[in-house]
């Protein structure tokens, strides 16, 4: 049975810390309609935290882009985190608008051997989110304090329509006591703007990879474009896909005035797959590039590689064909000329 904790409908964002921009219209905000702190147990079956009234004609896309901004504070029960067994199943917090999920936070163990708060610094858990605005985000769950998450995403199209819709928050996991409290801070709101998600692209510029005594060091640089235009000020993180297909720690790429550069080091093979996450104000992208000791550049998937190879081989074969054809034709002409010449003679 779900619990309703309904906040009053409000059209005023009213949050000085993160006011709506000139191009945004606020549809719902926690600043104007506070939501009490909620426990994992209360959220185990879902809790309705608000209702949003979308205006007549509301729809997602084509000049109307509905986006949710969330600022959450999550407190994990430290004694419970300390007692999590090895191989703990992940737990999830998710928020849905009219049943369409727009926010998903995953709590998972960093180590397969379980987690412990005895260090009083890191619980061995990490949180991770993914959305179209900031891309993939992750961080450690500290032992001593709540952790804060800033998130934004564009609403699913089916959740945006005229009328009043519920906003629900839910916990899923083996033990809801894991989450001691979830607080939606005043900066949380749903806004509609004329500006939608931009096309963000990452291009690998140059990669240099060296090995020294079993340690590989890579220096990579990238450009980031938004709708085709290069931009600075993006948040660019680079990680390595590990041998076990996990994601290694992220290294922030620094803006050097022309592009972004990052240095990574790891033990093992110089050939690696790097994951690049780039986020700008309204959008993000994830890209994979492969680097190696031969100073590799971006490698697309098999299809793109085959197409590129196909085109090159086609051109090469065409050149060969034309060269052979020319020589054969010339040879026949020479024979014909000789024959003609013979006849003449």
């Amino acid at each position: 049975m779900s619990v309703a904790i309904v906040a009053a409908i409000s059209l005023n964002c009213g949050d000085d810390s993160r006011p709506c921009t000139a191009s945004e219209r606020c549809e719902w905000s926690v600043a104007s309609a506070p939501v009490p702190a909620l426990t994992g147990q209360l959220l185990a079956n879902g809790a309705e935290v608000a209702r949003i009234a979308f205006p007549e004609g509301a729809r997602q896309g084509a000049g109307q882009w509905y986006r949710i901004d969330l600022e959450l504070e999550v407190d994990v029960q430290r004694d419970l985190a300390g007692k999590l067994p090895a191989g703990t199943v992940p737990a999830y917090l998710s928020l849905a608008v009219d049943g369409a999920t727009v926010f998903q936070l995953k709590l998972s163990p960093v180590s397969a051997t379980g987690s412990s708060c005895s260090s009083r610094s890191n619980s061995g858990l990490e949180w991770s989110t993914y959305g179209l605005v900031y891309g993939a985000q992750r961080g450690p769950v500290p032992c001593d304090d709540p952790f804060s998450v800033r998130f934004a995403n564009y609403l699913q199209a089916r959740s945006v329509h005229a009328g009043e819709v519920p906003v629900t928050l839910k916990f899923e996991g083996p033990d809801p006591r894991l989450v001691g409290s979830v607080v939606l801070r005043p900066g949380s709101k749903v806004v509609v703007s004329e500006e939608g998600p931009p096309r963000v692209e990452v291009r690998l510029g140059h990669a240099s990879v060296t090995t020294d005594g079993g340690t590989t060091r890579a220096r990579v640089d990238f450009s980031v474009t938004v709708d085709g235009k290069p931009v600075g000020g993006a948040k660019v993180d680079v990680s390595r896909i590990t041998d076990s297909q996990g994601v290694g720690p992220a290294t922030a790429a620094a803006w050097n005035g022309e592009g972004y550069e990052a240095g990574l080091a790891w033990d093992g093979s110089p050939e690696a797959t790097l994951l690049v996450s780039a986020a700008v104000a309204r959008g993000s992208t994830l890209a994979m590039v492969e680097v190696g000791a031969a100073d590799g550049g971006p490698a697309g998937p098999a299809k793109a590689a085959l197409l590129a190879e196909g085109i090159v081989m086609m051109l090469f074969a065409l050149m060969i064909a034309l060269w052979i054809g020319r020589r054969v034709a010339c040879g026949r002409l020479a024979i014909r000329a000789e024959k003609s010449g013979n006849r003449r003679h």
Binding site: T101, S108, Q156, V200, A321
Partner: protein, 221 residues
């Protein structure tokens, strides 16, 4: 001179055309089971994926992508739910690869999948499902599908038997996996959309190729 030149060039040009065609044929390529498959890029909004999974990042196609988990999906979340229902995890399946793009470029994801039973005895068939999403996030997101994950399915028969091991029946496996999800209380629709990867229902060696080309959807709550 010109006519002779073109005529003489015909065969090598034909060879060049054949080269390009054969490369395209490689992409519509040999499956691991030794038959041609129709590779397509399925796209929705800015997201794209290839409608087959692969051995070794694309050396050979393996099984058709025929299930979409959407709304509040995530790879580990789906696997956990299936394991609670008695399915087994990575200890029971080999690793295959899916190719996806979230608009930022293509990437590979590997998965061993979930399977039930683990190693089927004589006259028993296991349903094996592999799930794919970018490894950094374990889910994709777009405005049409929310958080989503794609999956391939097939059956393995008689794996623990000294004889008669067979693989295939992707369509049957798809139905089984979707019916399992329905048993969780998840809403689902069989054969919801064309993913352009049909297989004629035929035996090829110890593989039974079966897929109607229409993927099912499972809405994860």
């Amino acid at each position: 001179m010109r006519r002779a030149y073109l005529r003489a060039a015909f065969l090598p040009l034909a060879a060049a055309v054949a080269t390009l065609c054969s490369l395209l044929a490689v992409q519509t390529a040999d499956a691991e089971h030794g038959h041609a498959v129709s590779l397509r890029i399925v796209s929705v909004s800015e997201d794209q994926f290839i409608n087959w999974d692969f051995k070794n990042k694309g050396t050979a196609a393996d099984w058709p992508i025929n299930i979409l988990f959407w709304n509040n999906a995530e790879v580990d979340k789906i696997k956990t739910r299936y394991r609670w229902d008695g399915w087994f995890g990575s200890e029971c399946g080999d690793t295959m690869w899916g190719a996806l793009s979230d608009g930022g470029g293509w990437m590979w994801d590997s998965d061993d999948g979930v399977k039930t039973p683990c190693t089927p005895a004589c006259f028993v068939a296991a349903t094996h499902m592999r799930l794919y999403a970018p490894p950094a996030t374990d889910r994709l997101y777009n405005l049409a599908w929310g958080y989503y994950v794609i999956a391939s399915t097939h059956k393995d028969r008689n794996e623990a038997c000294p004889f008669g091991t067979k693989h295939g029946w992707s369509e049957d496996a798809e139905q089984d996996a979707v019916n399992t999800a329905k048993g969780f209380g998840w809403r689902a629709g069989h054969d919801w959309a064309d993913f352009f990867n049909p297989l004629a229902s035929v035996y090829l060696g110890n593989h039974y190729l079966q897929n109607d080309g229409r993927a099912s959807h499972v809405q994860v709550p």
